[in-house]
Amino acid sequence: MVDINKANERAVSKMMEARPILKGVAPAKDVIPGMKPNLLLHAGPPIEWARMSGPLRGAVIGALLFEGLAKTEQEAVALVEKGEIEFAPCHHHDTVGPMAGVTSSSMMVYILENETHGNKAYSNLNEGYGKVLRYGAFSEEVIAKLRWMNESMGPLLAKAIEASGGIDIRALLSESLHMGDEGHNRNKAGSIIYTAKLAPWIAKVAADNDVESEVLKALGDNALSVLNPVMAACKAMAASAHGIEGSTMVTTMARNGTDFGMRVSGLGDQWFTAPAEVPDGLYFPSFTSKDANPDIGDSTITETAGIGAFAMAAAPAIVTFVSGTPQDALNATLEMYEITIAEHSHFTIPQLEFRGTPTGIDIRKVVELGITPRVNTGIAHREAGVGQVGAGLVRPPMKIFEDALVAYAKEYRL
């Protein structure tokens, strides 16, 4: 007979013991298992073209343009509609991507290796702000930026990371949580640490001063530059805890802009999905919730691993997304302790007397208490190509937890 608490202890311990190191950057097709030219990875649970939301469609079109598989938007759509393109969740290939998360075979990706358990995880490079592929933009400037990232930034980062011997992302997060980051919506401090750690190696390996300068500027200006390695690190942690018999711990939460999907450690690779909700948040000038796309992105892997909204108390500067006061930020984290299995042994919160962050969502507790996980998130425009319109808070639909509980009862013959 399976002991659920013991299984969960094991799962959460594995997740916390995982030590993901950023090991390099390489083209997706060279490193991501199963990657091939006509395959596009996307955020969230599986979805077919017909049900894809605006930003995801836009990112798909952009990726096909970037890969040279299509020359125009129309060509790209026709190619997809003919069934020439395969789609798969990033999560099915040990990969995660923010927002649309679309990753194609030529794209440079970060390689994270969990030194404790040996598994790897991948994520694309962060494009920065403005019109970007991850929000479904695919204009020429977007594609040009991607090209530059692939041809200039990626190779330089690859060399620099290799020269550095690897960057311990878990240690970086431990530090940035003490500097006002929560690791999901706010990665300001983490991105600065990341840039500072890489800068000497970039300087050392760069052949061209102009490229060096551009890359350092891109890293330093972008408060999200570390988000992608952080997400891949969280994926490596969560993946190490997946597949533990009897465990009710969540190991994946991800959204594709249409559905919110979840997987549970002890329930194999089955996804539990329900329609994604529109985040509640603050909007950029001239946008309102009417413009918002339903929740999208793999970045919920941060909450899955015990940071992001779960570490909200550590990030009082962005509490206004929640509703306003530092007390609310504390409350957000305190609430998440109710539905988690452990307090993180490496991620601590100064504001809570260095208590570990709430870690390891237990579907039992979510259903019993009626508290769904909190997620901090960016908000995408519902139309392809417009980009980010705000940021805020969202929760997964309760239904996926209820469905998972019922599936667990069936699986384990309760």
Binding site: T248, P285, S286, I318, G324, D328, N331, E335, R364, L405
Partner: protein
Amino acid sequence: MSVTKSEVRPGVYYDSVVLMQLQRKLAALPGVEDAGVVMATPANLELLADSDLLEAAGKAARPEDLLIVVRAGNEAEASSALAQVDELLKQRSSGGGNQAFRPRSLAAGIKNLPAAEWVLISVPGRYAAKVAHEALDNGKHVFLYSDNVELEDEIALKQRGAALGLLVMGPDCGTAIINGVGLGFANRVRRGPIGLVGASGTGLQAVTVGIHNYGGGVSQAIGTGGRDLKAEVGAASMLQGLRYLAADEATQVIVLISKPPDEATAARLLSEAQTADKPVVVCFIGFAAPAEQIGNVHFAQGLDSAARIAVGLSNGAITPPAIERRAGYLRGLFSGGTLAYEALNGLQNFLHPIYSNVAIRSSQKMADPLHSQAHTIIDLGEDVFTVGRLHPMMDNDLRLRRLKQEVEDSETGLILLDVVLGEGSHADPAGELAAAIASHRKTRADIEFVALVVGTDEDPQNTEEQIQKLEAAGARIFRETSMAVDYIAARLGAAPSAAGKALRPFSEPLAAVNVGVESFFDSLKAQGADAVQVDWRPPAGGNETLAGILEKMKGKS
């Protein structure tokens, strides 16, 4: 025609979140159609241009400048909006924003107030037992206000509580005062030396009020719930409370309050009360008290008299020293019927089970008067014994034979004999009885002999001499039935049950987690107690299927 106005604040930086908030507030002002508040980076200027918010002043702004733009119905509205920017930037959300965290689960409540030793539970009855078990799991005393809790659940909770040294007040416990803090419904009464345990909520309230009004004060008032003194529950909580107060230095007088208890339970409680080295005032409404006072146990006829007696006793009563318990059964071999009846009337409240051929309660009837069982009081003057022979007041033969029979019974611990002197009685009853006692004591030194001697100094047998003979044989002498009853009740009362640990001490100041009715939380806070409110909801939102699965899963860990 709409008017767009901008303000550029060179070199002023705000976090984007602050800017978005400001923008939302500006957009909500009267007449304002749209607003934009951004750091004037090229990307942001483009955004503003897309929404028709960019005009000359904005275009000239530099990336490190703060740009504030409003589009309003007219010039005045636009200017007014811009004039309010500084005020809006200073605004802080308030009203509920600083609300301390409200946990949803008891576990989180306890985590947030580790000092809490008490959990108050007032959730719907069908869920209450589970919450109470969880409180016990966490080592907390329980105040269980919820009603409609199954009797089996109450028994299970109280058994666990006893094993853990934790108090379970309730279910259906409305009131308690712990360390001066009222739980549930409680009156504000001064603190003092009187400790109470009550199975009746309003009874407990009335007596604490009475104590206060008579000038006394309360150390602890412990509630038990109305079913505690039922046979099935066996006064589990009242016994715990009684023992706690007996050992509590701040308590000088104990008051027990209940509706009439089950017989066996009453005997258990009263004999436990006798072991306290302080006065115990018993107020079992409707209970036929055998006397005003038996040993340290005082019987009050009503709530008010209980309060009055308790306050009187707390002002310096002398408590008879507690008598040491011994094992074995009582065998009372009487020649006088009324004496037997009076002894039974007193002792039945302490010794259980007790049997007699002059039974007061039908449960006391002997199966066979010729054979004693458990505690037994026999009137040997009854017809069944006297057919064809002299009355035992005149002829000791029958009693001597029965005496021998009792001595041969290994369960016998104490033998009570009456010795009625006077005209017509045997000329020297003590002579024959004393000789038998002396001889039996050689074989059964463990048996204690008590003699109730009824006689005057003018009686022909010479009472003094009779007493001396009995005493010389080793018997303890009493001259009144009530005194003998006091002694025997104290000597043979049920041994304190080995089951159950002493209650964990009630620390000061009182801290509690309240699960359910919020007014109890407010009341705790108003009394200065440290408290956490748990916003409890039915598991799985009341969905029976899911709750059922969760329950099964609990068995798997």
